[in-house]
Amino acid sequence: MDLFQQLTQYAFSGLSTGAIYALIGLGFAIIYNATGIINFAQGEFVMLGGMLTYFFLTVLKFPFPVAMTAAVLVSTAAGATFERLTIRPLKKPTPLSLVIITIGGSIFIRGIAMLIWGKDTHALPPFSGNEPLTIAGATILPQNLWIFGITVLVIAVNKFFFYYTINGKAMRACSYNRTAASLVGIDVRRMVLLSFAISSTLGSMAGIIIAPLTMTAYDVGIMLGLKGFCAAIIGGMSSGIGTVLGGLLLGLLESFGAGLISSGYKDAIAFIILLLILFIRPQGLFSKAQTERV
């Protein structure tokens, strides 16, 4: 395989993991914009997506599409329940207490998953066959195409939701100014609940579409969640194209870094980028700086 083919190969795999990071990152950004919360438990919904699908598919013997749908529904319900039981009752939410509560939630969910499903790694079958296709000299699995397709679809639906539906517009209003939003009659608390539900939906979908490629286990959520957060930071916490580009960029850098430098340091690359961006451009690569208000 010559260098060009190799580079194309890295690009393909980078773009498909990048698409996953983008989906998870969008989940972060949606909650952050509606509530100002960084949901450290976001990665656990990615894990739930994969693990629940595995559970429904192999233990309860559901057909594959039903298992996937059920997994997304259960994860969404879990996300909404999490918000309802822990975030909403909080009397005086501070950034610190919210960080701790969502970390606590993430440990709790991970622990429950470990108790129910054990510590084994499981693989989901690919959506449609395992026959690699050859494009520009590089091989690509059908699952990669599924990942691209579903990600594009989700981003389109996301865009439609936020710009053309009443709930989506209400959530955007909350992100601009929560007090003003409640003054014009928007039920802010319902929007917060909705943002948790949507982001756990996105997270669980990401978890399902990547599980056939990378396998799934009770603890995959930590890394995937953090990478998703990196994507959102690179994109300046926008719930739109910025985060998607951030995810793809991160996926590409990781893939090239792992291929050309060292695979052991693959995960470190993401965090070095995260630190550099936070140090140099904390507002993200694609947005303008804001002045601090006291």
């Binding site: 610190l96 970390i103 440990i107 052991g264 965090f271």
Partner: protein
């Protein structure tokens, strides 16, 4: 102020006589860990409780202290006391340099940046197999020696660790009551207001971050020399979270609170050993419930709960008397 020093004196006495109750054995070993954890929690509390700056990467400083000291003694045969000093200086310089860009960030961003730093260091511990031994760990770290006295038994280690812990606590209590302590609390309440009042907030935050990192590194060296074996698993993200939990559960800004938090989190896994894998669930639940219902931590929550209970009971008495 006087109250704190009296309490410290009482606490020191309890710590000094406590081993007599156990006569060695397994529990003494747990108490050694409790000392190391207390030291770490107090160090983090200076940053988190006083200056109000979160760090989700403190396990990295602890790990750096352990690995620098461990590698220099086990592989290069240096004196453990010297390596402890080297580790403290190196980590101090690193924290000082890193402190300026990292502490410019606030809230969630600061949490993520420190977390990222912690994970990078953790990956380095795992990947530099030639120097650190990688995931399987580093063995053959010598014990500390003082003249002909080698700190190799549980009892000796207990006193070694707790002397360091008590000194750390005393220094922190002093710091809390000093001008710097007040300035840090001012930064906690409002950074802008404190700067208006003439506090060099930026430098002070970096200084307390550095101090906190240095104490953690010393704790790491002590850990390496008492355990004689270290592996990256002890210095990962989970341990960073555990440290933050100790500080918060104990009570932000309270030195004795940090001890309570560290004590609880050291004993909890031992108590939950019977139920094995459930400990992680209980742990997550505890984190959520404590933040929701006891935001002031144990050190404020227990007296408040006791008072409330007392008030309720006496209220019932009054009602009974009336009836």
């Amino acid at each position: 102020m006087k109250r704190d020093y009296l309490l410290f004196l009482l606490f020191t006495l309890i710590v000094l006589v406590a081993p007599a109750a156990f006569k060695g054995g397994y529990l003494l070993n747990v108490l050694v860990f409790m000392g190391i954890n207390t030291m770490l929690a107090v160090a983090l509390n200076l940053l988190l409780g006083f200056a109000g700056q979160i760090s989700l990467g403190h396990a990295a400083f602890f790990g750096l202290g352990a690995y620098i000291s461990g590698i220099l003694t086990a592989t290069h045969g240096l004196n453990p006391w010297l390596t402890m000093l080297i580790a403290a200086v190196v980590v101090g310089i690193l924290a000082f340099v890193l402190g300026f860009p990292i502490l410019k960030l606030k809230g969630h961003y600061l949490a993520m940046a420190t977390l990222g730093f912690g994970i990078i260091i953790y990956i380095v511990f795992n990947e530099t197999v030639d120097t650190t031994g990688g995931p399987s760990g580093l063995t053959g770290i010598p014990n500390l020696k003082l003249g002909s006295l080698t700190f190799d038994g549980d009892m000796k280690n207990y006193y070694l660790i707790w002397v360091f812990t008590l000194v750390t606590m005393l220094l922190s209590i002093n710091l809390a009551h000093s001008r710097i302590g007040r300035a840090l609390r001012a930064i906690h309440d409002s950074e802008v207001a404190s700067r208006v009042m003439g506090v060099n907030a930026r430098l002070l935050k970096v200084q307390v971050f550095t101090l906190s990192a240095i104490i953690s590194a010393v704790a790491g060296s002590l850990y390496a020399h008492t355990m004689t074996f270290i592996s990256p698993a002890s210095f990962g993200f989970n341990f960073s979270v555990e440290l933050v939990t100790m500080v918060i559960i104990g009570g932000l800004g309270s030195i004795f609170g940090s001890f309570l938090g560290a004590a609880l989190l050291t004993l909890l896994p031992e108590m939950l050993r019977v139920v094995q894998d459930y400990d992680i669930v209980v742990y997550g639940l505890l984190l959520i419930l404590m933040t929701m219902f006891m935001p002031g931590g144990l050190v404020r929550g227990i007296p408040a709960a006791a008072l409330a209970l007392l008030a309720k009971m006496s209220g019932e008495k009054v009602r009974n008397a009336e009836g």
